[in-house]
């Protein structure tokens, strides 16, 4: 049987190809201009201050190279990564799982709601005592602090996403033979709320880099420890150097995750 498909598929994006490149180029130029202006203002300000208040960008650059050359930077980074990764992985995994479970099951939601409300406002830093008592002054203790931060962001993002899954899609899936909570979650709930889940992951990953500093406050080695030690010694150039390392790590991981997210959500 032959049927005419008279309607056409949209190719809205193709026609815009040339101008999109132009816009990108303009944005890059503007961004570089802004960065240059920032460095100029910084340099100007540093001329009026002693270097233990604000070193110039040039001094920071020299320190950065020296820290990298001596290998100290990579040791600190390696240490931080050793609790950043397990903290981010466990916090994200548990947060997403709990978000799905509680948004899906009204029973679980009712049961856990009082506890969730009590625990939610506790800042990860307030849990340092537990981190030391339960895990010790080591990667596991620092990972615990990081995981707590990642957990809540992922929990709420996932919870919101799952709550928003269309009842109609679930009805359609049931009428196509999907039976049981786990099967519905796997075939409909997770893919349908993937935009919210991955946005939560992305926010959480960034938060984890910030928490690296907090998680090392009680003595675990890493970038945060290095920043705290340099602060005590008024080595502001070293402080800025390691802040830059954190920013760069965040940037690298965020760009990589965004690429993954764009692929996973190609259907949007």
């Amino acid at each position: 049987m032959a049927i005419d498909v008279s309607e056409d598929v949209d190719h809205a994006t193709d026609a815009l190809g040339g101008s999109v490149a132009d816009i990108d180029a303009r944005r890059v130029v503007r961004g570089l201009g802004g960065l240059l202006a920032f460095l100029l203002v910084w340099t100007g300000a540093s001329l009026t201050q002693p270097s233990y208040v604000l070193p110039s960008p040039l001094v920071v650059a020299e320190t950065f190279v020296a820290q990298a050359a001596s290998g100290e930077m990579f040791v600190a980074l390696g240490n931080s990564v050793l609790h950043w990764i397990p903290g981010a992985v466990f916090g994200t995994g548990l947060g997403v799982a709990a978000g799905i479970a509680l948004a899906w099951s009204p029973y679980l939601d009712d049961v856990t709601s009082p506890v969730v409300r009590v625990l939610r406002p506790v800042p990860p830093l307030a849990l340092i005592g537990f981190a030391i008592a339960w895990f010790g002054i080591n990667h596991a203790g620092a990972a615990f602090i990081i995981a707590v931060g990642a957990f809540w962001i992922n929990f709420y993002a996932t919870y919101g996403g799952v709550e928003g899954v269309s009842e109609d899609l679930l009805d359609v899936a049931r009428s196509l033979g999907v039976e049981g909570d786990l099967a519905l979650i796997r075939t409909v709930v997770v893919p349908a709320s993937l935009p919210e889940i991955t946005t939560g992951m992305r926010t959480g990953i960034g938060r984890c880099w910030m928490l690296v500093v907090a998680s090392e406050i009680f003595g675990v080695a890493g970038i945060g420890r290095r920043i705290l030690r340099a602060s005590n010694n008024l080595q502001v150039d070293v402080v800025i150097t390691y802040i830059l390392v954190l920013s760069l790590m965040y940037l690298v991981v965020d760009v990589a995750f965004r690429a993954f997210q764009r692929r996973a959500l190609a259907w949007r």
């Binding site: 049987m1 032959a2 049927i3 005419d4 498909v5 008279s6 309607e7 056409d8 598929v9 949209d10 269309s166 109609d168 899609l169 009805d171 359609v172 899936a173 049931r174 009428s175 196509l176 033979g177 999907v178 075939t187 409909v188 893919p191 349908a192 993937l194 959500l265 190609a266 259907w267 949007r268």
Partner: protein, 249 residues
Amino acid sequence: MAVETPRVRVEGIGKRFEGTNGPVQALEGVTFDVADGEFVCIVGPSGCGKTTLFRIIAGLEPATTGRVVLDGDRVDGPSTDLGLVFQEYHLFPWRTVAGNVGFGLERDGVATTERERRVRELLELVGLDGFADAYPRDLSGGMKQRVALARALAVDPGLLLMDEPFGAVDAQTKKLLQDELLDIWRETGKTILFVTHDVEEAVKLADRVVVMAKEPGRLREVIDVDVERPRERSDDGFGATYQRLLDLI
């Protein structure tokens, strides 16, 4: 027509809602049969409970009284015996056209090659061969509805339930889709229950038309459409049936 057990029996369906101003009787005593391979349309004014009736027959909502029996079994929830097509398509946006059509075939141990073959057949049936890898966001309304139809047909349901499926597309596409649906109905021999508010659509498509009235939503009359297919507005009997339905509504 030979005496046989109907494919679907809708028996004394009633539905009460607890509204803010006390209980509302949305449906009362709706009873009719649909024979195997029959095309039945349900028409009625807005507020007559058509969509509620659709949801009850589909097993998506319980009735307050009465029951729906499909092939001898009481309907107590959605199942692969009931293929659903909605006005708003409800495609899985994260799946391609082929992924949507094949969704219901990913269980029951259907082998991958068999599934792919079925999906190809169905896409050809609804005229979407060549669009297997497109995502729903790239499709027009008419194409989305073809995907939804193919997806519902994939699991070979005993009854195809359609709720105003062509209500969201332009007039030209609507006519095209109606003709295609009749072709597919003839080709597959499916039993179809089709809800619409469009009287002309009902006369064009149905073997019989179930006419509903409102307050409370109830069955007014069941009208046979005795017009040879393919039907045109100018055909003998088309205008008369159309007028009769309009008078009833």
